[in-house]
């Protein structure tokens, strides 16, 4: 058994479990074996002093739901080995929140262009600093801070 740091409940009555970030892969594996076979989403929350990764689980047998949270400072183990669907969710969390998933097969930006500076869902992301995407000759994106040809 993996130790649970603390438990809480959300407003809609779903149990929230806090786990240490080192144990997250083991803990989720246990939960998956217990019947939580669905990974609905992975997301992150930026609490300014630390980041939190949130996993929403669902058991398709009983319909039970579970929220697993882990505090991190920007790095956590990837769960792509447990759920194939975790791939895109982790990429998105990396893209928008800058949480690095160790062991992810293809941790690249997914929604924003390759080469984007910063992670926009962080609370300290400078919104007034505009970035522009341009197309390079080979068809890949390049990001710059000033308008270039084409704009």
């Amino acid at each position: 058994m993996i130790p649970v740091e603390s438990e809480a409940s959300s407003k809609d009555g779903v149990k929230i479990i806090y786990v240490a970030k080192e144990n997250i892969l083991q803990f989720l594996k246990e939960k998956k074996d217990e019947g939580f076979d669905y990974l609905l989403m992975i997301t992150g929350i930026d609490y300014k002093d630390h980041l939190e990764v949130v996993y929403h689980l669902l058991s398709s047998k009983s319909g039970e739901r579970l929220v697993v949270k882990a505090k991190t400072d920007g790095e956590i183990d990837s769960v792509t080995s447990l759920w194939k669907g975790a791939n895109w969710h982790e990429r998105e969390t990396w893209d928008l929140l800058g949480i690095k998933f160790n062991g992810h097969p293809n941790l690249k930006r997914i929604l924003l262009a390759e080469g984007w500076v910063g992670h926009p869902l962080r609370k300290d992301y400078p919104m007034e600093k505009k970035q522009y995407v341009n197309l390079k000759e080979d068809g890949y994106d390049s990001v710059s801070f000033e308008k270039k040809e084409g704009y």
């Binding site: 959300s10 407003k11 809609d12 779903v14 929230i16 076979d37 669905y38 990974l39 609905l40 989403m41 997301t43 929350i45 930026d46 949130v54 929403h56 398709s60 319909g63 739901r65 929220v67 759920w83 194939k84 669907g85 791939n87 895109w88 969710h89 998105e92 928008l96 930006r109 997914i110 929604l111 924003l112 262009a113 926009p120 869902l121 992301y125 919104m127 068809g139």
Partner: protein
Amino acid sequence: MQDKIVEVNFGPQHPSTHGVLRVKVKLDGEVIVDAQPIIGYLHRNAEKLSEMGYYPKAQIYVDRLDYAAALNMELGFVLSAEKLMDVQVPDRALWIRMMMVELNRIASHFIWLGTHGLDMGMLSPFFYCFREREKVFRILDEITGSRLLYNYFAIGGVYSDVTPKSLEMIKTWLSDFDKNLTEIENIFKKSYVYVARTKGTGKLGLDDTISYGVTGPMLRAAGKKWDLRKNKPYLHYDQINFDVPSQQAGDVYARMLVRIEEMHQSARIVAQVLDKLPAGDFYNKKYSKPMLVRIKATGESYIPTESPKGEFGIYLVGDGSAIPYRFRIRSPSFANLSAAPAMLIGYKIADMTATLSSMDPVFGEVDR
């Protein structure tokens, strides 16, 4: 041997990608050996913008997620927000919401059916579907005052009551809806070419479906009878009779059957709501809009709803202010689309268009 493999980019502008999907496909002749969907061409920062304004303000961004079924999106948001802010909703509003959501589900599936026909190489069903969809839109237009994006559900009720005229419209529309839909679905079901092309195409087994987090009609087509309206009823779905269609095959044909049966069932739900619609307030008078922007909320909530594409919900985290601290959208199309490589590799180019359209991705929701 390397020369035989051709890399083709389908999209971001391609007639059958339903928006701005780009699929990087490696082809060996006509056969797909590798397919990687590339998304993000419609990333409109809905989450960031929602975290910048008051709770009710986020609704305009929620509206524009799955623009084909905007009311379903709004429902996910208002349910979650009401839970977080402890807002009570009058009974009539709940019933109205249910009816509107089902109407919009039908409209959304009509878009899917029409464009699916287009992708399979036939133009006419597109027009028939849009003709039928316009009939739904006239009703929605009458009730909400808008055609596509409604901003109709409010935290604490709905913005306007259904009028007697609109109820009449729904009744006349219902009287021949099933007949019209059967006419259109027979174009598909009775076409030898369509059946031959779609049976066994784009297969996704149940294990893969669950592993990818695929929900909605695609899950039901893969053999699991899972519908949140039945399994975890919200609104008043537990007081209504309807069936959850499911198929075993998990291919494009099964998805077509499931979606079409869902449309019939939605019409059934609308008919029952018409009978059971209670009198009373449609809006909680305590929470007018100026009030709502003052409500401070803490904690977190996530109410899953069954949108036309699958499980949709909004994960709200409040920090004790009137602005959501974290606003995460669980979009079904995003998860469904991530399963695309598993459905495409090994099939032919022609199957790709069939499979992609059978997933029914809407890019406002995938890219958010």
